[in-house]
């Protein structure tokens, strides 16, 4: 794609370029952003390594003993040392379920945002590049879809699927359904952002130059214009992942998301909710805290990126 760039000096390696970049430099200077970035990296690596790090396998029913249920974390009385953060109502080790839950939540959040991004980029690029009827038609659809709340659409779609599939089959498909529904519900965000950047870029000289050189539309769109829309995309992506994780948690809390046997952070909070009345606060509080910290660092990173990259975000 990029063979048209004539280079006289050797391009430094990607890592080298990243380390010398303004982005990395300002990240090191901003304490809040650096802390958020570290926490985010920590969470992601812990989630990826969950099967190695977790002391128990929460998916394995034979490792669960109901006699161990509702044990408090180790710093409380009546706790057991092998369950560091206590156990849930089924006797599963809370630390292990949280590690696996974070894995599921992050997986759904990132995959859903990739889907949103793909759909939004395709629609936004074509709307902005071709303009005219195509543009007004696509953007009107985006407007209408945005006027319906994502959560509402997701709740309705998942509820209908759950009712028609039956709970058992649904629980097997829940992961894919969540990614698809959250992915489809938020594409207009990306479409609008990409379209706005494309409109700003498409009359610049390099686009004219590319056209005169006889490149076809898809090459100009993907190879030339798209790279220049990446920084606004990066800014909204962090916030979108945070929102997708919240949406997933909310849907799981309503019983429309991940089943209890394959918990995400949302379904962990949901399964602990009824036990707070009997004083077992940790089943809800600890996964809740992890969820809030995860979402908060993503929001803080998004704020920081917005300040640093300062893209002209699409505003109504």
């Amino acid at each position: 794609m990029r063979d048209d760039i004539i280079t006289t000096t050797k391009i430094p390696s990607l890592w080298r370029r990243f380390k010398d970049s303004y982005l990395w430099h300002s990240l090191k200077k901003d304490k809040v952003a650096f802390a958020s970035f570290s926490v985010f990296i920590l969470f992601v690596s812990v989630a990826i390594l969950a099967p190695v790090l977790a002391p128990f396998d929460p998916y394995d029913p034979s490792s669960i003993d109901i006699m161990d249920s509702e044990l408090p974390p180790v710093w409380q009385e009546d706790s057991e040392a092998k369950f560091l953060l206590g156990t849930d109502a089924q006797g599963r080790d809370l630390l292990s379920t949280i590690l696996y839950g974070m894995r599921t939540s992050l997986l759904i959040g990132i995959c859903a945002v990739l889907l949103q991004c793909f759909l939004g980029v395709v629609v936004g690029l074509s709307a902005g590049y071709f303009g005219g009827r195509i543009d007004s038609f696509l953007m009107r659809i985006a407007d209408i879809q945005l006027s319906f709340s994502t959560l509402m659409v997701a709740i309705v779609v998942l509820a209908v699927f759950q009712a028609s599939f039956g709970a058992e089959l649904y629980s097997k498909l829940a992961l894919f359904m969540l990614i698809l529904v959250i992915g489809f519900a938020e594409w207009p965000q990306y479409a609008r952002t990409v379209r706005a950047s494309v409109l700003a870029e498409k009359h610049k000289e390099y686009v004219d130059a590319a056209r005169i050189m006889g490149f076809n539309n898809s090459r100009i769109m993907l190879g030339h214009i798209l790279p220049n829309t990446l920084s606004p995309l990066l800014v909204i992506s962090t916030v979108q992942i945070a929102n997708a994780i919240i949406s997933e948690a909310s849907l799981s809390f309503l019983g429309l998301g991940m089943p209890v046997s394959q918990p995400s952070l949302g379904s962990l909070i949901s399964s602990g909710f009824e036990y707070i009345f009997s004083g077992s606060w940790w089943i809800t509080a600890i996964p809740g805290l992890v969820l809030v910290v995860l979402v908060m660092v993503m929001n803080l990173l998004g704020d920081w990126l917005r300040d640093v990259l300062n893209p002209k975000l699409y505003k109504d």
Partner: protein, 325 residues
């Protein structure tokens, strides 16, 4: 203006048509109305006869037009569980949900405007920094978790406030049951309303702050300062007016969003509203009730969006009233 109005109403009608089509295809595919009607014990021949009689063998479009014709007259079928007209069941629960949304909206307006304006005028003051810090936490806490935390603190630990239900309600205007006119009802409203408001509040504070800061940089405000107007007059007369324009659009969309969030708050607080009813209907596969909810909520979205568009068109002189943006 008339063209703009007609354009928007036309668009609203199309969206409602799509919603009704989707709702109907859900009704068509979900559950078997015959089994709900006669149970398992009827012979196959009788079933076929009944299907023919009820028009279930007609084409999709014929059935849709029959459904739409009845829907326009307010007949959305009979709930399998309640054995009452589905629309009536939904509308009976509507006041509970609307009161929740109303209470939360009042909280949002009363808190977000002063805080947003103050932190735009004094961006470096301690209060503004704390407000911004709290709002980033607020955005990151899902609404159901806020609700759970409130229940744990105020109901379980302190025992000050009730954790579920609407408490004592009174009848006003005939069938409207309200919890606003007595202490018990208000106490029951407090936690759900704060939880519901908590998700939108940070968003509005940040939005008002950002818009206001942008407006304060503009030429006409500098001119107003140069003219020697009093700060109050500049802030609240000149700047606030233009700040509120984008807030109105976002606000309209968010009212719809809040209806979605009521499903979450109603579930946590077992609030007898539409959202709670909807989830129950889903669990019972009560198709007519699901469809009625979709149509009522769809209508709420379409109506609020159309009204917001019209208000925005009226308030903002730069909107081209032909309807094309």
């Amino acid at each position: 203006m008339i063209a703009f109005l007609i354009n928007r109403l036309f668009q609203a009608a199309i969206v409602m048509f799509v919603i009704s089509l989707l709702s109907f295809s859900i009704q068509d595919n979900l559950g078997d109305p015959l089994r709900e009607l006669v149970g398992q014990s009827v012979s196959e021949a009788d079933r076929m006869e009944l299907r023919e009689e009820l028009g279930l063998n007609d084409s999709f479009l014929t059935q849709y037009f029959r459904f739409a014709g009845k829907a326009i007259q307010g007949d959305l079928g009979t709930s399998y569980f309640f054995k009452e007209p589905a629309l009536e069941v939904i509308l009976k629960k509507l006041p509970a949900t609307l009161e929740l949304v109303f209470g939360a909206t009042v909280l949002i307006i009363v808190i977000s405007i002063p805080v947003g304006v103050y932190s735009a005028i004094n961006p470096s003051s301690l209060f503004s920094k704390i407000a911004m810090g709290i709002s980033i936490i607020g955005i990151s806490v899902p609404v159901f978790l806020t609700a759970i935390i409130f229940i744990y603190i105020f109901s379980v630990e302190l025992g000050w406030l009730p954790s579920f239900g609407r408490g004592v309600t009174e009848h006003v205007f005939g069938t409207w049951e309200t919890g606003f006119f007595n202490l018990d009802g208000l106490l029951h409203l407090l936690l759900p309303c704060i939880s519901l408001a908590s998700i939108m509040l940070p968003l509005f504070i940040r939005l008002i702050r950002a818009e206001m800061m942008e407006v304060l940089q503009s030429e006409y405000i500098k001119f107003a300062w140069a003219k020697g107007l009093s700060p109050r007059r500049i802030w609240f007369m000149h700047a606030l007016k233009n700040t509120m324009l984008p807030v109105i659009t976002v606000g309209g969309v968010q009212i719809g969003t809040m209806v979605a969030y009521t499903i979450l708050t109603e579930t946590v607080f077992q609030w007898p509203g539409m959202g709670f009813l909807f989830l129950e209907a889903v669990n019972r596969v009560d198709t007519p009730l699901i469809v009625a909810y979709l149509i009522v909520v769809g209508a709420i979205f379409v109506i609020t969006n159309t009204i917001v568009d019209l208000i925005y068109g009226l308030v903002n002189p730069t909107v081209k009233l032909v309807g094309e943006k």
